[in-house]
């Protein structure tokens, strides 16, 4: 039982850094933009928040820095896609390259250092050592229903989804597709960077090159799994977090399986999730997903 509780506790902790980029990508894809650059944004958030919190000894300033970086970096992506009519896939991959390289440059002096952690608070006032989380974990699980409410129960959410279904019709109805996409990209950039920042200064307290280990791509898979619904995204993030923690626990118990094979679990699981739930989602996906909107005359 205690084993199960500590697994659950860890699953919730590790769900947060994947839930952030997933929520951001859900919103972005609901406006018709596929962003493959999440991995780069997460790495930027992780490295910059770590550097700032190491220098200032204040993790909250690190979080702020990550928010600013993610925002600016993803607005560059949005500019390429919205204003320069660039391919979304290529622009996203360019962002990925940029994040991988830039985070390595920024984080170089801090490899092997420890930074100030975010403070942790017990869930439901429990006294035990498990179920203690930093504020970013609480925020992540609070944000998912908020995003759901915004997307499906407000007028603004309706406009946003309209852009994703048909930019031309949204435009005719008085919505500016470009503006909506910029705003969605800004939100997604912040989310992805927060996910990365939570990994470096919320969970591990360290920085290492490429530490997000493909979470940006796993998040894209979770968006497909969640059928572009933020509430289902919580489930996906918990499943993924659970897999990561299971793998860590098995390794800690020292069973005789190669660590390399254990490290495969999250990726294999993601491919399987896509296989089972990713088929035949085309009718659920936003209709204009991945297409370039050249404007309406």
């Amino acid at each position: 039982m205690s084993w199960f509780l500590s697994w659950l506790s860890g699953a919730i902790l590790y769900a947060a850094p994947i839930l952030y980029p997933t929520l951001g990508e859900v919103v972005e894809q609901r406006t018709g933009m596929v962003n493959l650059g999440l991995e780069g944004l997460m790495l930027l958030g992780a490295s910059i928040s770590f550097a700032v919190s190491f220098i200032t000894k204040n993790p909250w300033l690190g979080i702020l820095a990550a928010i600013g970086t993610g925002l600016v970096a993803n607005l560059v992506y949005a500019w390429l896609v919205v204003h320069r009519n660039a391919s979304q896939l290529a622009a996203g991959l360019a962002l990925m390259f940029f994040g991988i390289g830039m985070s390595a440059l920024v984080g170089k002096p801090y490899v092997g250092q420890m930074a100030a952690y975010l403070p942790k608070y017990p869930l439901l006032g429990s006294q035990s050592l498990i179920f203690r989380y930093d504020l970013l974990v609480f925020l992540a699980f609070f944000l998912a229903p908020v995003v759901w409410f915004f997307l499906f129960r407000t007028r603004w959410g309706l406009k946003l989804r309209a852009v994703g279904e048909s930019p031309a019709i949204a435009y005719a109805a008085g919505v500016s597709p470009g503006l909506v996409r910029y705003l969605a990209a800004a939100f997604a950039g912040i989310c992805a960077a927060l996910g990365g920042a939570h990994l470096s200064i919320g969970i591990t307290g360290t920085w290492s090159e490429g530490m997000t280990a493909g979470r940006g791509f796993i998040a894209i898979a979770l968006v497909i799994f969640s059928r572009w619904n933020p509430l289902r995204a919580i489930v996906g993030a918990l499943v993924f977090g659970g897999a990561v923690v299971l793998q860590l626990q098995l390794q800690a118990q020292g069973i005789g399986i190669s660590a390399f094979l254990m490290d495969m679990i999250p990726y294999v699981l993601t491919v399987l999730v896509l296989l089972v739930w990713g088929r035949g989602v085309r009718h659920v996906a936003p209709a204009s997903l991945g297409r370039v909107y050249f404007g309406t005359e």
Binding site: L36, V76, W79, L80, R84, N85, A86, S87, L89, A90, A91, L93, A94, L95, M96, F97, F98, I100, G101, M102, S103, A104, L105, K108, E209, G210, A213, G214, F217, I218, I220, A221, I224, S258, F260, L261, D263, M264, Y267, V268, T270, V271, L274, L275, G278, R279, V292, F294
Partner: protein, 342 residues
């Protein structure tokens, strides 16, 4: 002004401006990191262009890049985005190494042929997974190829740290050295090896097939409008699978060539991102054979510059990714005519 100059004036000017912008922005980053950009650029140029050995190393580095660029270009022709050349490269290196280490007593040409084929099979199988999932209409190939890139090094790691680890080198996780019959021959005095000529050979075949054969026409039809191609009786799904497998096979060949020619044994650090560089090359060249040749040289120069900067400026190697991203950003920011999409 002679006609050819007039024709080249604007593209050349645009290219110059692009290069200046990229070098300027990257220099700014170097400045912010507390490095001297002028010195960094001078060192890079001196080490890789003015030095004959450096220049020959550029050509050596073109070998894997030509092949990984083709691994992206062939699926691109049928409208697929293969971002998985990195993983296909690793799997090719793995299976090729198996053939190199476990087969003995063959004469060198046969042994080389065997390990080349094994490497191509490894890459083709790794490419077949996303190809099959896409051909069945189940999962988009972009996301699967990206995810498989994270699995491939783990598989290589399992063998290199586990069953294949050389006992005599306890410090370094790597396989024993390949037998001499499994080493790629190279031109005396340089590291210019068989892999480079294989790369040129396959590039030539690619150039011929896409422009002069029925296959090339069918691939273009599938890439242009799969529905129309299907109505014409072209087996669209089969082409999707074949393109991914052939692409994977070429990336796998790049992997085993790199191992058998340069390293002589399988280890973890065999690719500084050759698969991703192949993607960049193809995007710059737009699947054009001549473009692939030119851009491979350019990217080989960037990759080598990364090593120079690592040594002289103590920058992490991943910094070249910034340079590659800036190039892609600049190319993507160039506005195109309506209807055309990059």
């Amino acid at each position: 002004m002679p006609n050819f100059l007039r024709r080249w004036k604007w593209p050349a000017l645009r290219l110059t401006v692009t290069v200046v912008v990229i070098l300027g922005v990257f220099g700014l980053f170097l400045l912010l990191m507390g490095k001297d950009p002028i010195k960094a650029y001078r060192d890079t140029f001196a080490a890789n262009v003015l030095n004959p050995r450096g220049l020959s190393e550029l050509v050596v580095r073109m070998a894997p890049l030509l092949l990984t660029a083709l691994a992206v270009a062939i699926p691109f022709r049928v409208g697929l985005i293969n971002v998985g050349a990195e993983g296909q490269f690793m799997l090719g290196a793995l299976l090729g190494s198996w053939a190199a280490l476990n087969v003995q007593g063959l004469p060198q040409p046969l042994h080389l042929l065997l390990l080349i084929l094994a490497g191509m099979v490894g890459g083709a199988l790794w490419g077949a997974i996303p190809g099959l999932l896409r051909a069945l209409g189940w999962i988009n190939e972009t996301i699967t190829t990206l995810l498989l890139n994270y699995l491939a090094p783990l598989i290589v790691g399992y063998f290199v740290f586990g069953p294949w680890r050389a006992p005599e080198l306890a410090m370094y996780p790597q396989t024993p050295e390949f037998p001499s019959t499994a080493r790629f021959p190279s031109i005396a005095g340089t590291r210019l090896h068989l892999g480079f000529f294989l790369g040129l050979f396959f590039l030539a075949i690619y150039a011929y097939l896409i422009s002069r054969s029925r296959w090339g026409l069918e691939m273009r039809a599938v890439g242009g409008n799969p529905e129309a191609a299907r109505r014409l009786g072209i087996p669209v799904e089969r082409w999707i699978l074949i393109a991914m497998m052939v692409g994977g096979a070429l990336a796998g060949l790049a992997g085993i060539a790199e191992v058998a020619a340069i390293h002589g044994r399988l280890k973890m650090a065999i690719s500084p991102g050759y698969g991703f560089m192949g993607f960049l090359i193809n995007w710059l060249a737009f699947a054009n054979p001549i473009g692939i040749l030119i851009m491979s040289f350019l990217v080989a120069f960037i990759a080598s510059s990364g090593f120079t900067l690592q040594i002289t400026q103590r920058l992490p190697y991943a910094a070249v990714n910034v340079l590659m991203a800036l190039i892609l950003f600049t190319v993507l920011a160039k506005p195109l005519a309506k209807g055309a999409q990059r």
